[in-house]
């Protein structure tokens, strides 16, 4: 023992070595993920949706708000590939712009709820004690409510609009992140390299910033991918219930809702929007599933 070099620099190098072996977890997960065919399919689906969302104005000659009273409820044709809606608007154009709305809302929800959840999860896991008890109490309480109903009540009070949807779902949905991150922090907190960092006199603050955060980030990234389907479905559901994004904004949820009155005459309005939501969510679910398997090899088939 005596002949070991216990100088600050040497111990720091040793700690960094340990740290690196842990943070290569993300590249390990990625290499396992690439081998999963369904995950790859999901990746392609999501890429296409992102492409559509970005290039919507180039992909279609129409505008999402352009009404045409002489072409109401027209079935699919060469001019209108997915027909027109009750106001003569081109449905495909609205679906393309809807991809924008869906992805923007989804990403905003995840950023908002993720920020709250990850922060509170880190605080809860790292400091423990009374703070932990209080935060976990709030988590327990919020999880007793059906997410969609509490969000609906909050959005209903705040009024319609994209930002109110994001705020309502974010205020309710952060608990999953907080729990995951908290349990991850507890594992990291008891690991050798954190203990070693303390032993060379690093402060609590620098331990959180330099050792605990970097190691909790892969968990957080994967959480975000896994939570995307929930965010997409929840925001579409709020639009459908009438407290979310409202017409004329082309959101998929409100398009399904509006097309409901014309199901017999013009079934293409609701069904096409439904298929778009479904395929997008399916894509994210394939990715999420692949990530989960890649993250936890014990759940893998065979």
């Amino acid at each position: 023992m005596e002949d070991k070099d216990l100088s600050y620099e040497n111990v720091r190098d040793e700690i960094n070595k340990l740290k690196r072996s842990k943070s290569s977890q993300l590249s390990l997960v990625w290499s396992r993920f690439k081998k999963n065919k369904l995950a790859l399919v999901g990746f392609i689906i999501v890429s296409i949706v992102v492409f559509i969302a970005i290039f919507a104005p180039v992909l279609t000659p129409y505008e999402p708000f352009d009404t045409d009273p002489f072409n109401r409820l027209k079935p699919p044709s060469w001019e209108h590939w997915v027909g027109t809606d009750a106001m003569g608007r081109d449905v495909l154009t609205r679906l393309f712009y809807g991809a924008r709305i869906a992805l923007i809302i989804g990403v905003l929800i995840i950023l908002f709820e993720g920020a709250i959840g990850i922060l509170l999860g880190i605080v809860s896991g790292f400091f423990g004690g009374f703070v932990d008890v209080i935060i976990m109490w709030v988590v327990d309480v919020l999880r007793s409510f059906p997410v969609i109903l509490l969000a609906m009540a909050i959005a209903g009070i705040m009024g319609q609009g994209i930002y109110n949807v994001v705020i309502a779902l974010g205020l309710v949905g952060w608990t999953t992140y907080a729990r995951m991150v908290r349990s991850k922090i507890l594992t990291i907190k008891n690991s050798d390299y954190v203990e070693a960092a303390y032993s060379i006199g690093e402060s609590r603050f620098s331990v959180v910033l330099r050792y605990i955060m970097p190691n909790a980030i892969p968990t957080a990234i994967i959480m975000i991918c896994i939570m995307m389907p929930t965010a997409l479905i929840a925001s579409a559901t709020l639009s459908f219930l009438g407290v979310g994004v409202q017409p004329p904004t082309p959101s998929w949820g409100s398009m399904i809702s509006a097309g409901r009155d014309y199901l017999i005459m013009a079934p293409w309005i609701s069904t096409s929007a439904g298929i778009f939501i479904m395929i997008t969510v399916l894509g994210f679910n394939f990715i999420g599933d692949g990530l989960r398997d890649a993250l936890d090899p014990t759940t893998k088939r065979n």
Partner: protein
Amino acid sequence: MAKKKRYFIYRILRTIITAFGVTLITFLILHLTPGDPVKIMLGPYATEENVAALRAKYKLDQPLHIQYISWISNVLKGDFGTSIRYDQPVSELIASRAGPTLVLTGSGLLIAVVFGVLLGVMAALKRNSILDYFSTFQAMFWISMPAFWLGILLLYIFGLRLRLVPIGGMLGITSLILPVLTLGLRQEAWFARPMRAEMLEVLNQDYIKTAKAKGLKYGYVIWKHALRNALIPIITMLALRLPWIIGGSVVVEVVFSWGGLGSLLVNSVLARDYPVVQSILLLMAILVVLANLAADLLYAVIDPRIRTEG
């Protein structure tokens, strides 16, 4: 046994503390959001006197903690206030709408658990077979559809095109089919996968191998030993899924014009009838809290592994 008693007391105390939090959240939803709830309720053309009168009626002119205490003591007495839209006690409204919701949610839950457990067990027994892949794929399929979209799709196919069932309302058992399927199919997916995983794990246990080695019949081993143990975690799963099933049933009620608590809740949110919104949310959340308690206590009672520790 003392250990088990301590666990029960701890769990019940925790439930009370969580329930207290639930009442706080439902109470605060109205007060923490921006804007004056009374002005929002009455609309932009309300006179000053009307606003003041309503504020006094709901005790909104008093400090927050006084308001909470008077609200909670009324709730504990079974008085949930008066609906603004119907001018009728909220408790009466809820009582008249609870039946249809219980029927819908109960049947949906039943379908979800029965199909989920069956598919999960079969997938585990015939691992990597077509059936196993089918089970995985169908689960993925259902959870990728928002409940309202699945409902509208079923309504379109079976109600409007094939005309097999009524397209909405509550007209006997046939109008129950589509709502229950919509609810059940989406939730079944959440039971099939854990059930498969649990069953696979149990099948790998030594006591199953021992039972097989003793020469017991395959079906007997599966039924008597494996399934019974694999089903235990499903109790916890049930409690965990309950808020989602309640949330789903609300959406389904709106799609199928089902006259239960869910459509009352959505209409009350849209009409800004806050006493009704608060009361229904409170009841649903308390139900979830109690279901979680029941699941934990039941788990402790029936799981042999926990029993031997006591």
